[in-house]
């Protein structure tokens, strides 16, 4: 037996899906509900448009405002006679993609910034975290709208803008985590071994802070989907004819009396998706929280 084998923590030889965290996550009923819902939603958005007999852009002026369950229109039609179910699934592709992509970007950015701020500390850390504080002083939606209103809103730009206004929480969480890890023995040892700063930051600190990052990232998907819905609802997000859950609601208010399903259906989809991600995040928090390992 070589010495390096002693250094390998025992749990890494086990299969990850049998780990305590995964088992605890699987026992979390709400999280499992969320996971199943997200899988169903993703499958529906990927394959739904292929199965439906309607194109999401097909305009049928004779079939405007059909209530749900008329013919094959499960969710009815919109003011232009387009099938809402078809639009809902296509919109889901956009909204979920924007949510995921914004989460990825903001998580990477927030993590790098948080690690840097926590690791270097001192003046660099202070300046970076003050910047985070300043960004957090703006109500998210104000900042988001101010950016979105003056650019050409394409899905990519909207994603970038949402990411630009939602990386701060992750930076804060990572910074706090890294600050608490910085003085621990294994980091001191790594420093004494002469490892480079970047090695310590991304090979030593990052893996040890990964739990809170995963939780925050999951909750960020939920928030990014919500934010996209907000800007698109207000008319500055994804632009029609490209559907998104938010912009499907954009014109719904004026038809609220005569065609309430225009508002109910996309809103329910948003709520379902966001709730599911929040449930998953909650389950991950319980599963990955090192402190509850003690119990």
């Amino acid at each position: 037996m070589t010495q390096s084998e002693f250094l390998v923590p025992t749990h890494s030889s086990q299969r990850w899906w049998r780990s305590r965290s995964v088992r605890r996550f699987a026992r979390h009923r709400l999280a499992m509900f969320g996971l199943v819902m997200i899988i169903v939603l993703v499958l529906a958005c990927v394959f739904g448009p292929l199965l439906l007999p309607f194109d999401d852009l097909y305009i049928d002026l004779r079939g405007r405002f059909s209530p749900p369950f008329t013919g094959y229109h499960f969710f009815g039609t919109d003011p232009l006679g387009r099938d809402i179910a078809a639009r809902l699934f296509m919109a889901g592709r956009i909204s979920l993609l924007v949510g995921f992509a914004a989460m990825l970007i903001s998580t990477v950015f927030g993590t790098v910034l948080g690690i840097a701020a926590g690791f270097f500390g001192g003046r660099i850390g202070t300046v970076l975290m003050r910047f985070v504080d300043a960004m957090l002083s703006f109500p998210n939606i104000f900042l988001l709208l101010a950016m979105a209103a003056f650019i050409k809103p394409s899905p990519i730009m909207i994603t970038l803008i949402i990411a630009a206004t939602s990386w701060m929480e992750i930076a804060r969480i990572v910074e706090a985590e890294v600050r608490s890890l910085r003085e621990r023995d294994f980091i001191v040892a790594a420093r004494m071994l002469g490892l480079s700063n970047s090695h310590i930051m991304f090979r030593e600190l990052l893996p040890n802070a990964i739990g809170p990052i995963i939780v925050a990232a999951t909750l960020t998907v939920a928030r990014a989907i919500l934010l996209e819905a907000y800007v698109s609802f207000l008319g500055y997000g994804i632009q029609p004819p490209l559907p998104s859950w938010g912009n499907m609601l954009n014109g719904a208010q004026q038809y609220l009396d005569s065609a309430p399903w225009l508002a109910i259906v996309p809103g329910a989809a948003i709520t379902l998706a966001v709730t599911s991600f929040n449930f998953i995040g909650d389950g991950l928090r319980d599963a990955l929280d090192a402190r509850s390992d003690m119990l």
């Binding site: 504080d133 819905a229 609802f233 207000l234 208010q253 809103g267 929040n278 909650d282």
Partner: protein, 344 residues
Amino acid sequence: MITGSACIADKAPLARLYPTDTKTETTGMLRYLLGRFWQSLVLLLLVSVIGFAVLNLAPGGPLSQFTLTPGMTQADLDRIATQMGLNRPLPIQYLDWLTHLLRGDWGHSYRDGRPVLDIIWEHLVATLLLMGVSTAIAIFVGTWIGVLGALRRYSIFDYAATVGAMVALSIPTFWFGLIAIYIFSLRLRWLPAGNMYTIGNGSLGDYAIHLIMPSIVLALVNVAVWSRYMRTATLDVISQDFVRTARAKGLSSRRVLIRHILGNALLPMITLLGLQLPTILGGALVTETVFTWPGMGRLFLDSLGYSDYPVVMGLLMMSAVLVLVGNLAADLTVAFVDPRIRLS
């Protein structure tokens, strides 16, 4: 200064044994106040830089509105840019804007040429009214849900409150507003669907009726957040010695709950209220849009529609100022109410 409620003194027994002389305590408090004040000022400066950068680095810039005018030539645009000082380097523009800001000159609206501060002022009251009423509702409801959840931990009520809070956090505010309008205005016809008052009827009751739906819609998210934190805070306090002491000395459970548990659990909530301000303000923007409430949020959206840069800029700054002032006020209130902070 240890004459506050007995429960707080219980947590600082040393302070009771060795009362600090009031002089050092005052200077400590003063230093704390000044420190927080400075921090807020630095933050405000940073906020102004970010706000300015966001609006001026966006493609198009403040001139974009004028390019839409028919017959506008590049020469005209250049002339306007020179007149408005938009062709100067950005840092100079920023300093110029900042000095005007500090003198109370927030610029003039592109739309009607009125001073930005006057316009914001007109809309601020409506927003603050909505936020205030809504927050009061959220605090009241959230506190009780949280406390009851903590007292009956793992009961059906507690479980329902937990799940309910997470769902409430996930519902888009504007959608909740639309559903509320559909049910209570369009179907039941109990409440008005929007606006702040009926034209020709400015009575107090009329305002109140118009306030009900938007404030409850805006409160939903905060009820969820507030009840979660309140539950945790209550659980923290319940297990403390002074609560057991209070129970042991025979106080009624009602008195223990209100004076010992609630008093202490609500203390960290003041800070939370400060931290929640951006969320509440952002929620107000959306709520105002759905309910055509004539506040800052509506003004913001209208100004965006007109590319009214000075007003957008002013609102962005005003929202950050409100948040920072709110946070400062929350911290000061905590310091004022809680002797532990003053003494440390």
